[in-house]
Symmetry: none
Subunit: 131 residues, 4 copies
């Protein structure tokens, strides 16, 4: 996977960049798009591709390493770790999505929007973004 398409970040978002990185990598591993042993872009390469500070990438990689999702190999680029939970079954993966869904549902309630309309828009976004 070349650096340019490894992850996408939004520097304008209130969500910190390093967290955007972490969560995207977590999801890609959970989905099985990244498998044990896959090489990931180097800190410098990704930093340049995303135009962010290398330390930001490094911080994200370190946290993913602490989580056990990535492995450092001396002198070589990091790879997806071979251990535990990975490519989880959908029943488990959907739990990673629950917080985002819950937040949207809470907001919909406060806006007093009819459920049907909300679901219609969500379905549309879901279908579009999967295209």
């Amino acid at each position: 996977m070349e650096a340019a398409h490894f992850v996408q970040i939004n520097t304008g978002s209130p969500e910190p960049i390093y967290r955007q990185l972490i969560e995207q990598v977590r999801r890609r591993i959970a989905a099985g798009q990244l498998s044990a042993g896959d090489e990931i872009p180097s800190v410098r390469e990704l930093a340049q591709a995303l135009a962010v500070h290398p330390m930001t990438i490094s911080k994200a990689y370190s946290m993913l390493e602490m989580e056990g999702l990535l492995e450092r190999r001396r002198g070589l680029s990091m790879v997806v770790a071979a251990q535990h939970r990975r490519a989880q079954p959908p029943a488990s993966r959907i739990e990673l999505l629950r917080p985002a869904l819950q937040k949207a549902a809470d907001e919909a309630r406060q806006l007093e929007l009819p459920a049907a309309e909300v679901i219609a828009l969500f379905t549309q976004l879901l279908t579009e973004s999967q295209a």
Copy 2:
């Protein structure tokens, strides 16, 4: 509206308190639960009810004033502003929900979850939270 039920905050959340306040008030006004001219709880009253520092409330109110949603009345408590976009029609209100839905859709795509499952869970959360 008494202060105790005006808004709810979650001090544990990474989202700053003042921003939680802003977004809830914004949604309540958009939903028409707060109408032009309605008085809102005083800074001190709400600060005590939520057990936060008055300046935190004041900051949120000031930003809502800059947004044009609240109006200051010298020496008196603030009121919901009497102007433009307010109690918007659902077609417009749903736009306030779009970012949350988009985020959930993006995450679902990265997790490669089937749309049907995602919509099923979302529908459940939406119905529960409206109960």
Copy 3:
């Protein structure tokens, strides 16, 4: 002078209402539009005409009384005082205007606007507002 035209206030201005009142009365006395012995509107009358709190009017009147520009007459409405400095000569009156001119000049400098243009606009505003 009936209350409605005695003074004009701008509740939206950052300048406090009581101060707007004081300064306008000061200027009208300095200009000779109000002379010793002239009756001024009662607190209640003016408060109603301007739709402000009576205490705001009362505060302004009290400060003008302390300044020696107004006089209280028991049971009767206040009048312009008969004492000292009043209907000053233009040479003296223009000093009351100096702060406003200085502020405008300072801002013009910071905006790096050519003096000729600034004077042209000011002349226009001055002529219009005197019409």
Copy 4:
């Protein structure tokens, strides 16, 4: 631009410090003295140079950011935003001066001062302050 000369404040003025900052920065940007991408002094640096509390500076910067004149860069100092209305043509810049001129004109009218005299004094102040 070093912090010491970035802005000047007057702690004795009734105008709040943070507002003095906002208006000066606004004018400097409008005048083109500050251009898109220019770094501004850090909160701490300017706070020390002006001998005020950092939060006072931070408040001013935040409001300028909400206005779209400054941009935040996470972990780095803020810069002048790269967008719309900036270094405006004089025809537009003079509008920023209009309120101050209008106020002076209104006061001159109430003082019943001859326009010629008022303009003479204003011209003098304008020329002096540009020296």
